[in-house]
Structure formats: C-alpha cells, structure tokens
C-alpha cells in the first residue's frame, strides 16, 4: 500500500471501457471485469474435465481426473445440502442454488488475489442477488399455494387476540430476509478486506517490528479464505431454507 492511500481505496469502482447508452452510464468497470472472470472460470471449471472424459477410447475413462473430482465435489455438496434442507422436491431448484453458491464462492475467492477486486464487497451486488432469491421464493410460494401463502404469516395455534400484534412482526421478519442475507455477505467481505489492508499498512510503518503484523496478516488471510467459503455456504443454505419455507409453509 502506497503512503497516504486509504485502506478503502480497493473498493473503488473504476471504469475500464466507457460505455454511455442513452444517457445511462453502463461502463465496463473493474467490478464487471471480475464478475466476467468469475463466470468464465466457473464455466471452464465445470466443462473442461467433462469434455475430456467423453473420449471413449482411453483407459482414463475408468477413473476420474482430478478436476472432475473437484467439480463433482462441488456438485454433490450442494446436492446433499438441498436434500437435507428441502428434501426430494428440492432437486428442481438445484441449478439456482448451485449457480448462486459458485458465483459467490469464486467471487469471494478471486477477491483474495492481491490487486483484484472483490465484487461481493459492494452492497448493491449482494442486495441484487438477495432480492433475486427473495422475489423467486415469494413467487414460488404464490404459485404453489395461491392465496393460502398468506397463512405463512400466521403462526398456527395462536390465540386470535394476538394476531394484530404478531402479523406485523411476521411480515417484518419476512421482509428482513433479503436485507440480512445481503448485509451479512457484504459486511463480512468489506470488513475482512479493510482489516487486511489496515494491517498491511502497519507493516511498512513499523519498520523492523513490521514482522508482527506480517505474521498476523498471514493468519488473517487464512481466516479470510475460510470466511469466503463460509459466506457462500450460508447464502446457499439460506436459499435452500427459504425455498423449503415457500414449499411447505411452516
């Protein structure tokens, strides 16, 4: 980090290619660049090992390649997650949960590369993802149950005089889902990356004693990678739980 540079400078969005469409600024920014890189990487990660295994004339068909094992591990991880939380009907929504999980996971992990950009550290990106999940789940609930979906806000077996108090609470609790979902991911990535940069600033400022924050940064980087994985996992498991709620209502 250069002297006098803010630890928050890493979150600045810089346009790479300026595009102005009808007065709308839709420039290709560094955020968009890293989203493209993430998507391209996921595409390669999940197509290349299976292209190879389609060759029928080699012995290597009998055992999977390392990349194939890695890809299948990701597949079975989300598959078992959906099976545990939603059950058999969850199979239909596999592609949604899997896409979200992989996009967030690799977005977080690519953000750990020095000089890269962490697009999940922007609330607008995470809120867009969370609102997508929220709208999907609400529409799913209405499609599956129709007007009966509103009974989701009524706790069964409750005395009738408690309803005017508890229905607003339930509605706030339901509306808070996309907010807490997006704030969790965004705040964790923002705080973690800022902390890393702040401690990196100490290394050069402390001279010979800079070895102490340096050791700390190494430990913190490990923690950040764990958090990167964990936040993607939390996002995926909550999507599963919301789908389960929409399908089964209580």
């Amino acid at each position: 980090m250069a002297k006098g540079e803010s630890p928050l400078k890493q979150f600045e969005i810089q346009p790479i290619i300026d595009i102005n469409l009808f007065g709308l600024d839709i420039s290709f920014t560094n955020s968009a660049l890293w989203m493209t890189v993430t998507t391209a990487f996921i595409l390669i990660f999940f197509t290349v090992p299976f292209l190879r295994s389609k060759k029928t004339n080699s012995v290597s068909d009998l055992y999977p390649s390392r990349m194939q094992v890695a890809a299948e591990l990701g597949f079975s991880f989300i598959n078992s997650l959906l099976n545990d939380t939603v059950g058999k009907e969850g199979k239909k929504y596999f592609s949604l949960v899997f896409t979200l999980f992989m996009f967030i996971l690799f977005g977080n992990l690519f953000g750990m590369i020095p000089y890269s950009f962490t697009f999940t550290s922007h609330i607008i990106v995470t809120l867009a993802l969370a609102m997508g999940v929220f709208i999907f789940v609400t529409v799913l609930g209405f499609v599956k149950h129709g007007v009966k979906f509103f009974s989701f806000f009524v706790i069964p077996g409750l005395p009738i005089y408690m309803l005017p108090l508890l229905i607003p609470i339930e509605i706030i609790s339901y509306l808070s889902r996309p907010i807490s979902l997006s704030v969790r991911l965004f705040a964790n990535m923002l705080a973690g990356h800022t902390l890393l940069k702040v401690f990196a600033g100490f290394v050069s400022a402390l001279g010979i004693f800079g070895i102490l924050p340096l050791v700390f940064i190494i430990a913190l980087t490990g923690l950040e990678i764990l958090i990167a994985f964990l936040q993607a996992y939390v996002f995926a498991i909550l999507t599963c739980l919301y789908i389960n709620d929409a399908l089964h209502l209580h």
Partner: protein, 77 residues
C-alpha cells in the same frame, strides 16, 4: 441435518454459519422496520409515532428470527 458422507466436517461448519447468521438477523429486521416506519410517517404525516412503533416491532421481529434460528440448532429438522 444428518449427513452420512462427511460425518465430522458438517457440524463444525454449521456451528460457524449459525454464528454468522445470528449477528445479522437482528440488524436486518431493524433496518427494514426503520425504512417502513419512515415511509409510514411520510405517508400519514405522523412524525415520530410510526418510526417508534415500527422500531419496537422490528426489534421483536429480530428476536423472533434469532429464536427460530436457535430452535433449529437445538432441533435440526
């Protein structure tokens, strides 16, 4: 949540994920209720009453979220 494939890895990660979830459930409910409260005040011109009521309701909603979360830890499905 019983997973017979990875018996020892799954619970540890779940504990951590619960820890991260609890911290933001309260915040999310409060943010939503403050926004709704301010909107109600703007619509009905009832300056502090809507906000105060909604903040109290939002606090309870956050507690309800946390209660549901903890019930899920104690008794997973």
């Amino acid at each position: 949540m019983d997973n017979n494939e990875e018996p020892d890895k799954q619970p540890k990660m779940q504990g951590l994920s619960f820890a991260y979830r609890i911290s933001t459930e309260l915040l999310g409910a409060l943010i939503v209720s403050v926004i709704i409260g301010l909107l109600i005040d703007k619509m009905f011109d009832s300056k502090p009453i809507g906000l105060i009521t909604l903040i109290i309701l939002g606090f309870f909603a956050g507690l309800l979220n946390i209660y549901r979360l903890i019930r899920r830890i104690e008794n997973p499905k």
